[in-house]
């Protein structure tokens, strides 16, 4: 049975990021989470344990930035943008000194300490958060 190449893979835990060999996480077929109250009316208070759920992120390359083989990832809500940047750089085998920019809505670059869960709540749609990444400043 062929594995769906677009299935959500688990992002390796952030503790595995520094100083370790490239780990891409074990391929797992994860059932996508049902869309939260993103982009609809003010949501009700999150049920306890909601912060533990992962959110789906779709990564899109801009310009001549290398395209990731796996674009769809299930990520913990508390993962920061900086953590995501570090991961993509490792995945694409970029040098640490090379810059990588991440954009939401193709319009703004969230601050590196921002949590992806918050971005998903505010700017997610169709059950996922679309992020564009680029080696240069694409949208200022």
């Amino acid at each position: 049975m062929a594995e769906d190449p677009e299935s959500s893979l688990q992002l390796p835990p952030s503790t595995a990021a520094e100083g370790e060999g490239p780990t891409e996480g074990s391929p797992e077929t994860v059932t996508p989470e049902p869309p939260s109250s993103a982009a609809v009316s003010p949501g009700t208070e999150e049920p306890v344990g909601d912060t533990k759920k992962k959110i789906d992120i779709l990564l899109k390359a801009v310009g001549d930035t290398p395209i990731m083989k796996t674009k769809k990832w299930a990520v913990e809500r508390t993962r920061t943008i900086q953590g995501l940047i570090d991961f993509i750089k490792k995945f694409l085998k970029l040098v640490a000194s090379e810059q990588l920019f991440i954009y939401v809505n193709q319009s703004f670059a969230p601050s590196p300490d921002q949590e992806v869960g918050t971005l998903y709540e505010c700017f997610g749609s169709d059950g996922k958060l679309v992020l564009h990444y680029c080696k240069s400043q694409a949208w200022g």
Binding site: V40, G43, E45, V104, E115, C122
Partner: protein, 223 residues
Amino acid sequence: MGRWLKRSVRGARIRRVEGKERGKYCGHYPIGLLFDLLASSSALPWNITVHFKSFPEKDLLHCPSKDVIEAHFMSCVKEADALKHKSQVINEMQKKDHKQLWMGLQNDRFDQFWAINRKLMEYPAEENGFRYIPFRIYQTTTERPFIQKLFRPVAPDGQLHTLGDLLKEVCPSAVAPEDGEKKNQVMIHGIEPMLETPLQWLSEHLSYPDNFLHISIIPQPTD
């Protein structure tokens, strides 16, 4: 150092701050927010320690140049407009307008800043306010950096949502029960606005220069 302390304007940004209560704080938070969150019971001027060496690389974001601060500021403004206007207003502006916004803030030029910022505070005549309100709620008692969610300024029946409505929805622990004792202060720019204040009004008049309402929830000081 003196130059930064002269900035009693709450929109000022500082590289790294050590408060008495907490070790280190994000260097890109507005200084007024940091004061409300960490030291609101202190007398002004606020004594802070500014470090120029031994940057804690692992804990904090690096802030190597004014360009980085400018880029971060503009990103916040863009994010706020994404919420308020689906980015339509900020995208219609020219690069020089963005630059004027930053230069007005950097040089304390109120008129220069507001010539551009007023456009970000407008909304279509047929609406009663922005699409969503840009806000962030900070609490020293939780792990999360801040709460930010989608919240409309106007209810479906046309009533304006208030600050109290916002808190009840996204941070109910901050609001005291009807007959309960007031446990927290809800602070913006060092003052406690009445919870009945319409959120739309607060967003237009009490936002920081980055167009966000930065709201601090701090324990009620004991006399």
